[in-house]
């Protein structure tokens, strides 16, 4: 019998080792971020990680300020990649937003970069997204006009198609993909709510894809026309706690 539901976040990430490459799903919003998986990764203690993410993570303090500005209630369990930056666990980050957007608010990863404690590869979101999809889809490399003539083209092959220069980009496959979805069944089939961000993109683009979900429903409840990510792309599913935690150190 297939049952991809794992009893705890700690169990789901027990085999993550230092130096691993990790896809982090979500997009600059704790509500579509795999918060509890990130907390479990922090507890796991693996370091020198290579992360792939749209953005470098807000961290608790920046997130609080951003939520206040919008008159929204701050989350106590809104952990994102900023936590990994604060703990010094990132050896390298591949991202489109290494910095915060505002001049006065500093992402935790900005401090890491200033101290020279991690490498960063900055690339446009579309090229990152396509490189991740390539990993899911078995394509080692593709050409794109995006980035030609700019710093992202440095060291990359340039080739013309129909007279337009393009650069060669390669697949980005990770050891683990940590993603967030709304509902799952025991096959690992997923349904998302809202913009599906890198969550759907990264599912299947890693050796092990782990989905953090709001609930697991009986097999058959998710209909065939409705499933966004087939369970084939998902190895492990973990359900978020019914009562939010307020400290990432609390086992979950």
């Amino acid at each position: 019998m297939i049952n991809k539901v794992v009893g705890s976040f700690d169990e789901a990430l027990a085999d993550v080792r230092s130096g691993a490459m990790i896809h982090f799903g979500g997009f600059a919003n704790p509500h579509n971020t795999p918060n509890y998986l990130i907390a479990a990764l922090a507890r796991r203690g693996a370091d020198r990680l290579t992360g792939v993410s749209t953005y470098a993570g807000h961290g608790e303090e920046v997130q609080r300020v951003l939520f206040e500005r919008r008159n929204l209630e701050a989350l106590h369990d809104g952990w994102d990649l900023g936590l990994m930056a604060e703990l010094g666990r990132l050896g390298k980050l591949i991202t489109s937003f290494p910095n915060g957007n505002s001049r006065e608010l500093l992402y935790p990863f900005e401090h890491v970069l200033r101290r020279g404690e991690a490498e960063v590869e900055v690339l446009g979101q579309g090229s990152i997204a396509e490189r991740i999809r390539c990993a899911r889809a078995g394509i080692p490399a593709f050409y794109t006009p995006v980035g030609v003539g700019t710093f992202v083209a440095a060291g990359k092959e340039v080739r013309e198609f129909d007279g337009v220069p393009h650069i060669l980009e390669t697949a980005l496959r990770a050891d683990f993909a940590l993603i967030r979805a709304h509902r799952a069944d025991r096959f690992g089939n997923l349904v998302y709510r809202g913009p599906r961000t890198f969550n759907q993109t990264m599912a299947g683009a890693a050796g092990v894809t782990v989905a953090e979900v709001d609930e697991v429903v009986p097999l058959g409840d998710l209909g065939p026309d409705e499933i966004h990510t087939p369970g084939v792309y998902v190895q492990r599913v973990v359900v978020r706690p019914s009562t939010p935690h307020d400290d990432w150190r609390t086992p979950a």
Partner: protein, 225 residues
């Protein structure tokens, strides 16, 4: 500088940019000033706003916390309204849409724009690394690139220049620029003033612009609506 006429405020700049979006257009809104555009679409026009994380067809920004859907934000993380016909997708599909040339207009902020249409908006001064977001994809692949920005940098430097000297986001891509003093077109290596903010003269605008401006035959004061 003390005798300068008034600068357009941010909401008026957004209205100027929104004014020219055609009915049915697919429009991506970038970080900063462009985010306000979804608030200013006349009710008789249907414009589909696209956001990188996988939304097409969202509505105006939502300021009442009681009305917020925490999953539905624009690219800058501001809550926006749902609208009939809106759809969600993945990041890869969202960028397939961008890179496949399906976006009619991309509205971007900028640090510098030059006469060749080059765009620099990656390296915010003081930040440890350049940031691209989806801007490079959008500037390269959208059918029209519309920049909305202040005319001058915080340090007083002109942002429309002969040649960008900041980190480039994309080459030869900018078609139009809305600033707080006017509306400009960039084509064939030339920046042309199309409309000026109320009270401004061509000479006053030229004086704070880093490139010699051409002036449209029918140059006129900006009128909304």
């Amino acid at each position: 500088m003390s005798e300068q006429p008034e600068l357009l405020d941010e909401s008026v700049m957004a209205m100027v940019a929104a004014r020219d979006l055609p009915d049915g257009a697919i429009v991506n809104l970038g970080l900063g000033l462009p985010l306000a555009l979804s608030d200013y679409i006349p009710p008789d026009r249907e414009v589909l706003f696209h956001s990188e994380q996988g939304i097409v067809g969202f509505g105006a920004r939502v300021f009442d916390p009681a009305e917020v859907d925490p999953l539905l934000m624009n690219a800058g993380g501001e809550p926006v309204a749902s609208a009939p016909g809106m759809s969600y997708m993945s990041h890869d599909e969202s960028f397939a849409m961008i890179r496949g040339g399906h976006i009619d207009v991309t509205v971007l902020g900028a640090l510098q724009v030059d006469a060749r249409g080059n765009l620099a908006n990656a390296q915010i001064p003081g930040k440890p690394a350049p940031g691209l977001g989806g801007g490079q994809d959008l500037a390269t692949c959208a059918k029209q690139v519309l920049v909305v920005m202040r005319h001058l940098a915080p340090n007083g430097d002109p942002k429309i220049v002969e040649r960008c000297d900041m980190v480039l986001t994309a080459l030869g891509c900018v078609d139009r620029v809305v600033t707080d003093v006017g509306l400009f077109e960039i084509a064939d290596g030339r920046v042309t003033l199309l409309e000026y903010a109320p009270g401004w003269t061509v000479e006053q605008i030229q004086a704070i612009t880093g490139v010699e401006l051409a002036v449209a035959e029918d140059v006129r004061e900006i009128v909304l609506g």
